[in-house]
Protein backbone atom coordinates (compact mmCIF):
# COMPACT_ATOMS: atom_id res chain seq x y z
CA UNK A 1 0.00 0.00 0.00
CA UNK A 2 1.35 3.37 -0.97
CA UNK A 3 0.73 6.32 1.31
CA UNK A 4 1.08 9.86 0.07
CA UNK A 5 0.83 12.88 2.35
CA UNK A 6 0.39 16.36 0.95
CA UNK A 7 1.56 19.32 3.01
CA UNK A 8 2.20 23.00 2.43
CA UNK A 9 1.16 26.54 3.19
CA UNK A 10 -2.53 27.38 3.23
CA UNK A 11 -3.72 28.15 -0.27
CA UNK A 12 -0.74 26.57 -2.01
CA UNK A 13 -2.90 23.97 -3.75
CA UNK A 14 -2.54 20.93 -1.49
CA UNK A 15 -6.17 19.93 -1.75
CA UNK A 16 -6.25 20.39 -5.50
CA UNK A 17 -3.07 18.33 -5.97
CA UNK A 18 -4.28 15.61 -3.60
CA UNK A 19 -7.66 15.44 -5.30
CA UNK A 20 -6.32 15.21 -8.82
CA UNK A 21 -3.69 12.66 -7.79
CA UNK A 22 -6.32 10.53 -6.08
CA UNK A 23 -8.60 10.61 -9.12
CA UNK A 24 -5.76 9.63 -11.45
CA UNK A 25 -4.77 6.70 -9.22
CA UNK A 26 -8.38 5.52 -8.98
CA UNK A 27 -8.83 5.79 -12.73
CA UNK A 28 -5.81 3.55 -13.19
CA UNK A 29 -7.68 0.88 -11.26
CA UNK A 30 -6.08 1.22 -7.83
CA UNK A 31 -8.28 1.31 -4.75
CA UNK A 32 -7.82 4.76 -3.27
CA UNK A 33 -8.71 6.02 0.17
CA UNK A 34 -8.36 9.76 0.64
CA UNK A 35 -8.16 11.26 4.10
CA UNK A 36 -9.02 14.90 4.58
CA UNK A 37 -7.45 16.01 7.85
CA UNK A 38 -8.23 19.71 7.39
CA UNK A 39 -10.53 21.22 10.01
CA UNK A 40 -12.08 23.08 7.09
CA UNK A 41 -12.35 20.11 4.72
CA UNK A 42 -12.70 20.70 1.00
CA UNK A 43 -11.13 17.61 -0.56
CA UNK A 44 -14.52 16.38 -1.77
CA UNK A 45 -14.68 19.33 -4.14
CA UNK A 46 -11.32 18.46 -5.66
CA UNK A 47 -12.41 14.85 -6.03
CA UNK A 48 -15.40 15.99 -8.06
CA UNK A 49 -18.05 15.08 -5.50
CA UNK A 50 -19.69 18.46 -5.81
CA UNK A 51 -20.19 21.22 -3.27
CA UNK A 52 -23.34 19.90 -1.59
CA UNK A 53 -21.99 16.38 -1.08
CA UNK A 54 -18.74 17.82 0.28
CA UNK A 55 -20.57 20.18 2.59
CA UNK A 56 -22.68 17.34 3.91
CA UNK A 57 -19.81 15.05 4.87
CA UNK A 58 -19.41 14.62 8.60
CA UNK A 59 -16.20 14.47 10.61
CA UNK A 60 -15.29 11.09 12.09
CA UNK A 61 -13.77 12.72 15.16
CA UNK A 62 -16.93 14.53 16.17
CA UNK A 63 -19.01 11.35 16.01
CA UNK A 64 -16.44 9.27 17.85
CA UNK A 65 -16.10 11.88 20.62
CA UNK A 66 -19.86 11.84 21.15
CA UNK A 67 -19.80 8.08 21.50
CA UNK A 68 -17.29 8.03 24.29
CA UNK A 69 -13.61 7.61 24.99
CA UNK A 70 -13.01 3.99 24.03
CA UNK A 71 -12.51 3.15 20.40
CA UNK A 72 -12.45 -0.59 20.21
CA UNK A 73 -12.80 -0.77 16.47
CA UNK A 74 -9.91 -1.53 14.19
CA UNK A 75 -8.73 1.12 11.76
CA UNK A 76 -10.44 -0.81 8.97
CA UNK A 77 -13.73 -0.70 10.86
CA UNK A 78 -13.40 3.05 11.45
CA UNK A 79 -12.67 3.63 7.77
CA UNK A 80 -15.52 1.39 6.64
CA UNK A 81 -17.85 3.23 8.95
CA UNK A 82 -16.92 6.78 8.01
CA UNK A 83 -15.70 6.56 4.43
CA UNK A 84 -17.93 7.99 1.74
CA UNK A 85 -17.90 6.97 -1.90
CA UNK A 86 -16.28 9.62 -4.05
CA UNK A 87 -16.16 7.72 -7.33
CA UNK A 88 -15.11 4.39 -8.75
CA UNK A 89 -12.33 2.87 -6.62
CA UNK A 90 -12.33 6.09 -4.61
CA UNK A 91 -13.38 6.80 -1.04
CA UNK A 92 -12.94 9.71 1.31
CA UNK A 93 -12.77 9.90 5.08
CA UNK A 94 -13.14 13.30 6.63
CA UNK A 95 -11.32 13.32 9.95
CA UNK A 96 -12.79 16.43 11.55
CA UNK A 97 -14.81 19.51 10.78
CA UNK A 98 -14.80 22.65 12.91
CA UNK A 99 -18.00 24.22 11.71
CA UNK A 100 -19.86 25.20 14.88
CA UNK A 101 -19.09 27.87 17.43
CA UNK A 102 -17.57 26.18 20.47
CA UNK A 103 -15.58 28.78 22.41
CA UNK A 104 -12.93 27.62 24.92
Amino acid sequence: MTKIAVAGKGGSGKTTVAGVLARLCAESGREVLTVDADENPNLGISLGMGVEATYGLGGARETLLLEGPAISSSMEEVVDRFAAEAGEHLRIVQVRKFDQFRPG
Binding site: K9, G10, G11, S12, T15, D38, E39, N40, N42, I45, S46, V51, T54, Y55, K97, F98, D99, Q100, F101, R102, P103, G104
Partner: protein
Protein backbone atom coordinates in the same frame (compact mmCIF):
# COMPACT_ATOMS: atom_id res chain seq x y z
CA UNK B 1 -12.59 50.19 15.81
CA UNK B 2 -11.99 46.49 15.50
CA UNK B 3 -11.60 44.66 12.19
CA UNK B 4 -11.13 40.89 12.02
CA UNK B 5 -10.13 39.07 8.85
CA UNK B 6 -11.23 35.49 8.29
CA UNK B 7 -11.35 33.15 5.31
CA UNK B 8 -9.95 30.06 3.69
CA UNK B 9 -6.19 29.59 3.83
CA UNK B 10 -4.43 31.49 1.09
CA UNK B 11 -7.37 33.76 0.35
CA UNK B 12 -5.33 36.88 1.08
CA UNK B 13 -6.18 37.76 4.67
CA UNK B 14 -2.63 38.66 5.72
CA UNK B 15 -2.04 40.65 2.56
CA UNK B 16 -5.25 42.64 3.03
CA UNK B 17 -4.72 43.01 6.78
CA UNK B 18 -1.29 44.45 6.13
CA UNK B 19 -2.35 46.76 3.29
CA UNK B 20 -5.35 47.98 5.28
CA UNK B 21 -3.31 48.57 8.43
CA UNK B 22 -0.69 50.54 6.52
CA UNK B 23 -3.34 52.54 4.66
CA UNK B 24 -5.03 53.56 7.91
CA UNK B 25 -1.71 54.42 9.49
CA UNK B 26 -0.78 56.59 6.50
CA UNK B 27 -4.01 58.52 7.11
CA UNK B 28 -2.86 59.27 10.63
CA UNK B 29 -4.82 56.56 12.41
CA UNK B 30 -3.35 54.61 15.31
CA UNK B 31 -3.27 50.94 14.33
CA UNK B 32 -2.40 47.77 16.20
CA UNK B 33 -2.17 44.77 13.88
CA UNK B 34 -2.47 41.37 15.53
CA UNK B 35 -1.64 38.12 13.80
CA UNK B 36 -3.14 34.87 15.08
CA UNK B 37 -1.34 32.91 12.39
CA UNK B 38 1.83 31.02 13.19
CA UNK B 39 2.87 31.52 9.56
CA UNK B 40 4.51 34.99 9.48
CA UNK B 41 2.55 36.45 6.55
CA UNK B 42 1.37 39.72 8.07
CA UNK B 43 4.79 40.69 9.40
CA UNK B 44 6.27 40.19 5.93
CA UNK B 45 3.56 42.28 4.28
CA UNK B 46 4.28 45.08 6.75
CA UNK B 47 7.98 44.90 5.93
CA UNK B 48 9.12 43.96 9.40
CA UNK B 49 12.31 42.27 10.42
CA UNK B 50 11.71 39.10 12.48
CA UNK B 51 11.62 39.63 16.22
CA UNK B 52 11.67 37.37 19.24
CA UNK B 53 9.78 39.87 21.34
CA UNK B 54 6.45 40.37 19.70
CA UNK B 55 4.92 37.05 20.77
CA UNK B 56 2.00 37.16 23.12
CA UNK B 57 2.84 33.67 24.40
CA UNK B 58 3.67 34.00 28.08
CA UNK B 59 1.61 37.20 28.53
CA UNK B 60 -1.09 35.29 30.38
CA UNK B 61 -0.57 32.98 33.33
CA UNK B 62 -2.62 30.34 35.09
CA UNK B 63 -4.37 31.71 38.12
CA UNK B 64 -6.67 29.66 40.37
CA UNK B 65 -7.94 27.47 37.54
CA UNK B 66 -8.37 30.44 35.25
CA UNK B 67 -6.06 32.84 33.53
CA UNK B 68 -4.84 36.31 34.28
CA UNK B 69 -3.23 38.72 31.88
CA UNK B 70 0.25 39.94 32.79
CA UNK B 71 -0.87 43.57 32.73
CA UNK B 72 -3.61 45.57 31.08
CA UNK B 73 -4.17 45.09 27.34
CA UNK B 74 -2.47 48.44 26.71
CA UNK B 75 0.54 47.43 28.81
CA UNK B 76 0.82 44.12 26.97
CA UNK B 77 0.74 45.89 23.61
CA UNK B 78 3.28 48.46 24.78
CA UNK B 79 5.55 45.68 25.93
CA UNK B 80 5.25 43.31 22.99
CA UNK B 81 4.38 45.36 19.93
CA UNK B 82 7.02 46.27 17.41
CA UNK B 83 6.54 49.18 15.07
CA UNK B 84 6.48 48.66 11.31
CA UNK B 85 7.92 51.32 8.95
CA UNK B 86 4.38 52.55 8.31
CA UNK B 87 3.81 53.20 12.02
CA UNK B 88 1.59 50.16 12.46
CA UNK B 89 2.25 48.38 15.76
CA UNK B 90 2.41 44.63 15.35
CA UNK B 91 2.04 41.64 17.67
CA UNK B 92 2.05 37.93 16.92
CA UNK B 93 0.16 35.25 18.83
CA UNK B 94 2.95 32.69 18.95
CA UNK B 95 5.53 31.21 16.67
CA UNK B 96 5.63 28.05 14.61
CA UNK B 97 8.33 26.58 16.84
CA UNK B 98 6.01 26.74 19.82
CA UNK B 99 3.47 24.81 17.80
CA UNK B 100 5.96 22.13 16.83
CA UNK B 101 6.88 21.60 20.48
CA UNK B 102 3.34 20.43 21.12
CA UNK B 103 4.10 17.25 19.27
CA UNK B 104 6.04 16.22 22.34
CA UNK B 105 2.84 16.76 24.33
CA UNK B 106 4.69 18.50 27.09
CA UNK B 107 2.31 20.26 29.41
CA UNK B 108 4.63 23.22 29.73
CA UNK B 109 4.81 23.92 26.04
CA UNK B 110 1.08 23.40 25.54
CA UNK B 111 0.28 25.92 28.26
CA UNK B 112 2.88 28.26 26.85
CA UNK B 113 1.17 28.20 23.48
CA UNK B 114 -2.29 28.41 25.03
CA UNK B 115 -1.15 31.40 27.08
CA UNK B 116 -0.59 33.15 23.75
CA UNK B 117 -4.14 32.38 22.67
CA UNK B 118 -5.59 33.62 25.95
CA UNK B 119 -3.53 36.80 25.83
CA UNK B 120 -4.41 37.29 22.17
CA UNK B 121 -8.14 36.95 22.72
CA UNK B 122 -8.17 39.22 25.74
CA UNK B 123 -6.07 41.92 24.13
CA UNK B 124 -7.90 41.73 20.79
CA UNK B 125 -11.26 42.20 22.49
CA UNK B 126 -10.36 44.62 25.25
CA UNK B 127 -7.60 46.80 23.79
CA UNK B 128 -9.09 50.23 23.41
CA UNK B 129 -7.11 53.40 22.97
CA UNK B 130 -10.20 55.43 22.14
CA UNK B 131 -10.23 56.05 18.44
CA UNK B 132 -7.48 53.67 17.39
CA UNK B 133 -7.84 50.58 15.24
CA UNK B 134 -7.19 46.93 15.97
CA UNK B 135 -6.79 44.77 12.86
CA UNK B 136 -6.88 41.06 13.63
CA UNK B 137 -5.55 38.56 11.08
CA UNK B 138 -6.81 35.08 11.92
CA UNK B 139 -5.35 31.82 10.71
CA UNK B 140 -6.93 30.44 7.56
CA UNK B 141 -9.83 28.06 7.97
CA UNK B 142 -12.59 27.57 10.49
CA UNK B 143 -10.86 26.43 13.65
CA UNK B 144 -10.14 29.82 15.21
CA UNK B 145 -13.53 31.19 14.17
CA UNK B 146 -15.25 28.19 15.73
CA UNK B 147 -13.19 28.85 18.84
CA UNK B 148 -14.63 32.36 19.14
CA UNK B 149 -11.50 34.25 18.16
CA UNK B 150 -13.50 36.64 15.99
CA UNK B 151 -14.61 38.27 19.23
CA UNK B 152 -17.87 40.08 19.77
CA UNK B 153 -17.52 43.60 18.35
CA UNK B 154 -16.44 45.30 15.18
CA UNK B 155 -16.35 44.22 11.57
CA UNK B 156 -15.61 40.60 10.63
CA UNK B 157 -14.37 40.61 7.03
CA UNK B 158 -14.51 37.28 5.27
CA UNK B 159 -12.04 37.23 2.41
CA UNK B 160 -13.30 35.21 -0.54
CA UNK B 161 -11.49 34.19 -3.71
CA UNK B 162 -13.45 33.22 -6.83
CA UNK B 163 -13.17 29.48 -6.08
CA UNK B 164 -15.72 26.98 -4.77
CA UNK B 165 -13.59 26.04 -1.76
CA UNK B 166 -13.27 29.65 -0.72
CA UNK B 167 -17.02 30.17 -1.01
CA UNK B 168 -17.70 26.95 0.90
CA UNK B 169 -15.55 28.27 3.74
CA UNK B 170 -17.64 31.46 3.84
CA UNK B 171 -20.75 29.30 3.97
CA UNK B 172 -19.33 27.43 6.95
CA UNK B 173 -18.81 30.74 8.77
CA UNK B 174 -22.40 31.77 8.19
CA UNK B 175 -23.71 28.38 9.29
CA UNK B 176 -21.53 28.24 12.37
CA UNK B 177 -24.26 29.37 14.71
CA UNK B 178 -25.45 32.63 16.12
CA UNK B 179 -22.99 35.43 15.41
CA UNK B 180 -22.53 38.01 18.17
CA UNK B 181 -24.88 40.94 17.66
CA UNK B 182 -22.04 43.45 17.92
CA UNK B 183 -20.10 41.95 15.03
CA UNK B 184 -20.91 42.82 11.39
CA UNK B 185 -20.08 40.03 8.94
CA UNK B 186 -19.07 41.50 5.59
CA UNK B 187 -17.25 40.18 2.56
CA UNK B 188 -14.22 41.16 0.55
CA UNK B 189 -13.88 39.61 -2.89
CA UNK B 190 -10.17 39.07 -3.48
CA UNK B 191 -7.95 38.13 -6.43
CA UNK B 192 -10.78 38.92 -8.80
CA UNK B 193 -9.37 38.39 -12.29
CA UNK B 194 -12.40 38.96 -14.52
CA UNK B 195 -16.03 40.07 -14.59
CA UNK B 196 -16.90 36.36 -14.33
CA UNK B 197 -14.89 36.09 -11.13
CA UNK B 198 -16.59 39.17 -9.72
CA UNK B 199 -20.05 37.85 -10.60
CA UNK B 200 -19.24 34.46 -9.13
CA UNK B 201 -18.25 35.86 -5.75
CA UNK B 202 -21.06 38.42 -5.76
CA UNK B 203 -23.65 35.73 -6.45
CA UNK B 204 -22.25 33.41 -3.82
CA UNK B 205 -22.02 36.02 -1.06
CA UNK B 206 -25.42 37.41 -1.95
CA UNK B 207 -26.81 33.93 -1.44
CA UNK B 208 -25.19 33.85 1.99
CA UNK B 209 -26.49 37.27 2.96
CA UNK B 210 -22.99 38.73 3.21
CA UNK B 211 -22.66 42.26 1.78
CA UNK B 212 -19.51 42.87 -0.23
CA UNK B 213 -17.56 45.84 1.05
CA UNK B 214 -14.64 45.67 -1.34
CA UNK B 215 -13.58 43.93 -4.53
CA UNK B 216 -9.82 43.59 -4.83
CA UNK B 217 -8.51 42.74 -8.30
CA UNK B 218 -5.93 40.09 -9.05
CA UNK B 219 -2.90 42.35 -9.10
CA UNK B 220 0.31 41.13 -10.80
CA UNK B 221 2.26 43.72 -8.81
CA UNK B 222 1.47 41.78 -5.63
CA UNK B 223 3.05 38.60 -6.94
CA UNK B 224 6.09 40.46 -8.28
CA UNK B 225 6.63 42.28 -5.01
CA UNK B 226 6.40 39.08 -3.00
CA UNK B 227 8.87 37.28 -5.21
CA UNK B 228 11.27 40.21 -5.04
CA UNK B 229 11.00 40.21 -1.27
CA UNK B 230 9.47 43.66 -1.30
CA UNK B 231 6.96 44.42 1.45
CA UNK B 232 3.56 44.76 -0.15
CA UNK B 233 2.98 48.01 1.70
CA UNK B 234 5.60 49.53 -0.61
CA UNK B 235 3.51 48.81 -3.69
CA UNK B 236 2.68 51.76 -5.92
CA UNK B 237 -0.39 53.43 -4.37
CA UNK B 238 -1.94 53.40 -7.82
CA UNK B 239 -1.70 49.62 -8.14
CA UNK B 240 -5.16 48.02 -8.31
CA UNK B 241 -4.89 46.21 -4.98
CA UNK B 242 -3.92 49.35 -3.10
CA UNK B 243 -6.64 51.42 -4.72
CA UNK B 244 -9.21 48.82 -3.66
CA UNK B 245 -7.86 48.73 -0.12
CA UNK B 246 -8.03 52.54 0.06
CA UNK B 247 -11.71 52.35 -0.85
CA UNK B 248 -12.21 49.70 1.83
CA UNK B 249 -10.52 51.97 4.37
CA UNK B 250 -12.96 54.75 3.37
CA UNK B 251 -15.89 52.40 3.95
CA UNK B 252 -14.61 51.23 7.31
CA UNK B 253 -13.93 54.82 8.28
CA UNK B 254 -17.60 55.64 7.73
CA UNK B 255 -18.58 52.83 10.06
CA UNK B 256 -16.10 54.03 12.67
CA UNK B 257 -17.60 57.52 12.59
CA UNK B 258 -21.22 56.37 12.59
CA UNK B 259 -23.11 56.81 15.86
CA UNK B 260 -23.23 53.64 17.93
CA UNK B 261 -26.71 52.16 17.91
CA UNK B 262 -27.97 50.23 20.89
CA UNK B 263 -28.74 46.54 20.30
Amino acid sequence: MRVVLLGKGGSGKSTLAGLLSAELSTRGERVVAMSADSVPGLAQVLGMEPSDDWFLAGMAARDNGGWKLEGTPAEIVDRCAREAPSGVRFVQIGNADATLKDFEFRRESFLDRWSGTVAFNTVSRAYDDEGGWVVVDLQGGTLQVAGGMVGTTGVAMVVVEPFAKSVLTARRFVDMGRWPAGLRLVGVANKVGSPDDEAYVAHALDGLGIPIWATVPLDPAVRRAERDGQPLVNLDPQSPARVAVAALADRLGQVALAPVTAH
